[in-house]
């Protein structure tokens, strides 16, 4: 046993653990969103919904969304596209690793701040995807697909907002400015005082 291993999950997920059902349902819906018949001309613009939801859960429910889940979803994506097996598996795993490493830091940011951190991850995932295709001699690389990475960063905001609402996750770890904290303390004190006088 590792001595400094925490016994229970720590941070916001301890306050509001996401239910397994919500994680599974959201991932299935995201996968189905990928399968929707998007118009032919804009395939390169459509973000990868599976990855967006996966990274959300990597940040907010790391005890459920881990690298194994990322690998499994990546293999599923590979099987769906019918391209090179293992390509999405690798990029999903790396993206999930990046999100998991940034998790502690991200918990302190508001929605747009988190999205801004994830944008390079989405973009990098798409870039690596295309580079892997080049490396394994797939016939032709359409660089327009890089736009999908940026689109994923933008569309992550409404999706994360929705999921935040569903889990009830709020930025509890956010450090409030000093005067706010003082007023909050005063409020607690007055409540305690009221309880004491009863």
């Amino acid at each position: 046993m590792n001595a400094d291993k925490p016994l229970v999950p720590q941070g916001p997920e301890l306050l509001d653990p996401a239910s397994t059902r919500l994680v599974v349902v959201s991932l299935v819906l995201a996968y189905l969103a990928n399968l929707l018949p998007w118009p032919d001309g804009i395939h390169w613009l459509v973000p990868d919904f599976s990855l967006m939801v996966l990274l959300y859960w990597c940040i907010h429910a790391p005890h459920r969304a881990n690298l194994s889940l990322a690998m499994a979803l990546g293999l599923l994506a590979d099987a769906t596209v019918g391209g090179l097996m293992g390509q999405h598996a690798l990029t999903y795993t790396l993206a999930a690793y990046a999100a998991l490493s940034l998790r502690r830091r991200l918990a302190n940011f508001h929605l747009s701040g988190r999205a801004l951190h994830l944008l390079p991850i989405f973009f990098g995932q798409q870039l690596l995807n295309l580079l892997l295709g080049l490396a394994f001699h797939l016939p032709d690389v359409d660089w327009r697909y890089l736009v999908a990475g940026v689109a994923a960063g933008l569309f992550w905001i409404p999706i994360a907002h929705l999921l935040d609402g569903l889990t009830g996750w709020t930025n509890k770890m956010h450090i409030e400015p000093a005067d706010n904290r003082a007023s909050a303390r005063a409020q607690i004190k007055s409540q305690n005082g009221a309880r004491g006088s009863k």
Binding site: L67, S68, A79, L84, Q87, R104, G133
Partner: protein, 284 residues
């Protein structure tokens, strides 16, 4: 504390990452070097394709409902045009039987084998693969309809591509404009044999490595030469747009536009091998 794991698990995050990366890379190598995972892909497509069809249903219904109100006038117009067309074709066909007999006799004289008989099979494009690496579409005819990998796919105007992968009741067509595709062709004007290949762009084909003095002019029509026994003779493939003189290479490059309306229609014809028991051209 810096190295402390974030949560209780047997293996560190980085170790896991390294392990999964290795597995993924191994999969990619196996998939690209050896054809080992094709069965797996076929099986997964068998599961995913119906789901996709189901998801597309409401959208198809919506677009059909939207079409309903405009389609009547269009049908009337089309009908009028088709009646005219059929009259024109009937006129043109009058000489066809005689030409066919004459052609058969000439072939016999030349002692040439018949070109491989083909049986056209109409198929509908059901999905465009969102793949940044390749231009592929999925059509709704597969193994059950006798489609084989490698068969040519045409539309009313010309060559569209080739069947590259066959699933149970769908198959994957690589478009002619895909960078990997090539077709042996012949210049209709002078019979010159060339190989035309895709460029990866939707509306451009090219003939690479041609002699700098080659007799190809803009406006020439390239048709399949039938030499490779894959594409039957005489399907229109491309119209020559321009001939680029050699530039830093000893070869010229011919730029052409595909004649088949690639990516514009929902229906294509797969030219299946005709049943060997039926002699080709037996239909009336």
């Amino acid at each position: 504390m810096a190295n402390a794991p974030m949560f209780a698990r047997a293996m560190g995050l980085t170790t896991r990452l390294a392990l999964y990366c290795l597995v993924s890379l191994a999969l990619m190598v196996v998939d690209s070097r050896f054809d080992a995972l094709t069965t797996l892909k076929r099986a997964s497509t068998g599961v995913i394709y119906p789901v996709q069809g189901f998801l597309a249903k409401p959208f198809d219904f919506l677009s059909e409902a939207a079409n309903f109100f405009t389609v009547h006038g269009k049908i009337m117009r089309d009908n009028r045009r088709l009646i005219l067309d059929s009259q024109i074709y009937a006129m043109r066909l009058q000489g066809y039987d005689a030409l066919k007999r004459e052609n058969a006799q000439l072939r016999k004289l030349l002692n040439l084998p018949y070109p491989a008989g083909t049986r056209p099979l109409a198929a509908e494009i059901v999905r465009i693969q969102p793949d940044p690496f390749d231009r592929r579409v999925i059509v709704n005819k597969g193994e059950a309809d006798g489609v084989e990998a490698g068969r040519p796919v045409v539309d009313a105007t010309g060559l569209v591509g080739q069947v590259t992968r066959v699933y149970a009741d769908s198959s994957e067509v690589s478009l002619l404009t895909s960078k990997e595709q090539a077709a042996p062709v012949q210049d209709q004007r002078n019979g010159l044999r060339l190989i035309v290949s895709g460029t990866g762009s939707g509306d451009q084909l090219e003939v690479r490595y041609v002699d700098m003095h080659v007799d190809v002019k803009p406006g020439d029509i390239l048709v399949t030469s039938g030499i490779d026994a894959v594409y039957p003779l005489g399907i229109p493939v491309a119209r020559v747009l321009q001939v680029d003189p050699p530039h830093q290479t000893p070869f010229a490059r011919v730029v052409c536009a595909p004649i088949g309306e690639i990516g514009q229609h929902r229906h294509v014809l797969i030219l299946n091998r005709a049943n060997p028991s039926q002699p080709s051209g037996a239909h009336k």
